[in-house]
Symmetry: C3
Subunit: 245 residues, 3 copies
Amino acid sequence: MFKARIKADVLREVITVVGTLVEEVKLNISSDGLSLRAVDPAHVAMVELVLKAGAFEELKATACEIGVDIDKFREMLKLARAGSVLRLSHDEDKNKLVVTIDNLTRRMSLVDTAGMSDPKVPNVNLPAKVRVKTEELNQGIRASESISDHIALIATADMFELSAEGETDSVSLKLPKDLLEALECKDTVKSLFSLDYFSNMVKSVGNAPSVTLNLGTDYPVRIEFDLAGGEGYVKYLLAPRIEND
Amino acid sequence: MFKARIKADVLREVITVVGTLVEEVKLNISSDGLSLRAVDPAHVAMVELVLKAGAFEELKATACEIGVDIDKFREMLKLARAGSVLRLSHDEDKNKLVVTIDNLTRRMSLVDTAGMSDPKVPNVNLPAKVRVKTEELNQGIRASESISDHIALIATADMFELSAEGETDSVSLKLPKDLLEALECKDTVKSLFSLDYFSNMVKSVGNAPSVTLNLGTDYPVRIEFDLAGGEGYVKYLLAPRIEND
Amino acid sequence: MFKARIKADVLREVITVVGTLVEEVKLNISSDGLSLRAVDPAHVAMVELVLKAGAFEELKATACEIGVDIDKFREMLKLARAGSVLRLSHDEDKNKLVVTIDNLTRRMSLVDTAGMSDPKVPNVNLPAKVRVKTEELNQGIRASESISDHIALIATADMFELSAEGETDSVSLKLPKDLLEALECKDTVKSLFSLDYFSNMVKSVGNAPSVTLNLGTDYPVRIEFDLAGGEGYVKYLLAPRIEND
C-alpha cells in the first residue's frame, strides 16, 4: 500500500537528482519515507537518496518497491503550478501509479523491478572533507567547461581548489579556508574527475546552499547535500580518472 | 476604401487565430468592422472571426475584400512596442496595404483574392455546451501531449472530461460542474479529436479567460471565445476522428 | 608591463564591438588606456576603439601590444556576476594573460601579434551628419530584415531615412529633424549598405542611447558612439554597396 501527498518542488528535487544518472529507478517505500540507490549505466557513479516521512505532506505506506520511469515524472512536474501538491497512490490491481495534480490525473505503468538490484555502497575511506557554497562550485565548473573535459579537486590544510588544464589555457578556482564553510584536511589530496559527471551532479543540487565533498588522492569523491529543507539527503559517489604521467 | 487605426494587441489576437489554420486569408472589410472565414488545407478545421468597428481605434471603410499574407503581419507585430497603435490603409492605385507603426512604414503587396472563396459554415446541431477556463484546458492539453496524438472530449450532466489514452499510460482532466462556468448537457456526449489541431486552437485563445465548447457524440466541436475584450469573437469548428472499435 | 582592474560591464562593451568584425585582435596598451583597430576578413568594415585610463578601476601599464582571442573573453564574461570587477595582468615570462574574477583565475595563451598590422583609417570626407536614437535605428533594422539584405541610408536637409526595398514589399523608417538629436545636411545624400554588417554594428552599441552617422552619396558610413559612459568611443567605417541601375 502506498498513498501520499508531496509538494511538487520536493518531488522535483528527487527527480532531478535521480535523472542525472538513470532513466528508471526502484523506489523503496515505507512508512518512514522513500529511499533509492542507483548506478549509472557506465558504472562510473552512484547515488543514494533518502526522503524522510517529514518531507511528505501526507504518507501512508506499507513497505513496498515501485519501479518508475523518470521522464514520466518530469512531464507531470512541468504541469505543476507554483506551490502545487501532488497526490500519489499505487493501484495494486492494475499495477499503475496514479499521480494527480489539481483536477488532472495520470495513470502510469510501472517498471518491472525484478531485474533491478539495490547496488551496494562501497566502503571508501576519504581523509579530507570540504563544505563549499554550491554557487562557487558552479562558477568553477562553468569556467572549466571551455578548457577541458576533466577537472582536478584538490584540498590542502588551508584551501580547496578546483582546477582544469587545457592545451593552451588553464582555469583554477581557489578558495582559502575562510571562504569555506568547513575544511578538514591534514595532508594534501588530489583526484581527477570527469567534468561532465561532476557538473551534472552539482547542477542537480537544487536549493541546498552548500555541498560537502569528501576527498582522497586518486580516490572517488563523495558529494553530499540536503534535500527538502533537511528532511532528506543525497550522497553521490563518483569514481576518479587516474592520470597517466 | 480602407483606413484604420488598431491596437497592436488586438491585431495580434486576430493574426494568432488565423495563423493557426492558414497562411493567407481574405479579409472582408466594411464600416461595421472586419470578418473572415478560412478552412485549413487538410479541410479538418475552419475558423470564423468577427471584429466589430468598436475594436478599432478608428475605422473608415467602404465594403471591400483584401487578401493578406499572415507572416507579413507577424513580422510587423514583432516591431510593435507595448501599447502601440498601427495605422492601416489600402493604396488602391498600387494595390498595396500600407502599415505604419510609429515612424516605420511597410508597404505590403496583397494576395489575389480571386481564387479565395468564403467557405460555408456547416449547420451542425451540437447538444452539449461547456464553458471552461482556458488555463484548465491548457493544462489538460499539455498533459496529453506525451500520451497520445488524439484526445477525447466528454460531457455528462454533471462534469466535463478531457482524456487521452496511450499504450501504457492515460491522462484525464475531470472538471465537476462547480468548477465549470457553464454546463448544459442532458445525455453523455463523447467525441475524439486530433490533439494537434485542438491544442493549436486553444493556444490561440490569447487573453480570453474562458472558452465555450459545443459538443456531440462523434460530431465536430465548436470552440468559441471573445476577441478584443468582447468587441469581436472567434468560432472554430474541428472535425472529429471516428474511433474504430 | 600590464596590470589592470576593469568592470565586467565595460569589458563586455569592448568585446561585443570587436567581436562584430574579428575573432582575434591586437590590443595597444599604455598608461593612457587601451586602443585597437581591426578590419573584418572581407575588408568591408573596420573598427577603431579607444578606452581611456578613466574607464578602468585601476591601470598600471607600460606601452605594449597584446594579441587576444575574443571568444576566451566571452567565456570569462559569462561567469561574471552583476557588478563584478575583473583583474587582468600580463605574465611576461610565460606570455599568458591572467584574468581573475572573484576567486577564479584563467591563464590565457596569447595570439602572436607579429602578423597583425594596425590598419590605416582611410581619410573620407562625409558631408552629412545625423545623431539618432539607437532604439529607433534598431526598429528600422529589424523591420528591414524580412525585406532585403541591404538598406539605404538617406539624409536630407530636414529628415533621415532608412529604407529597404524587396521584390514585393518595402520598408521605410522616416525621422523628421525634430525626432533627431542632430542633423547637419545641405544636399541630399544616399548610400546603400549590407544590412547584415550594419545590423551587427548597431546591435553592438550596448548602453549608448544614441549614435552618430556620418554619410555621403555612394560613400562609406561612419558610425560613432560612446563606450564606458563617455570614457571611450567606437568608430566603425562600413563600405557602401554601389547600386547598378
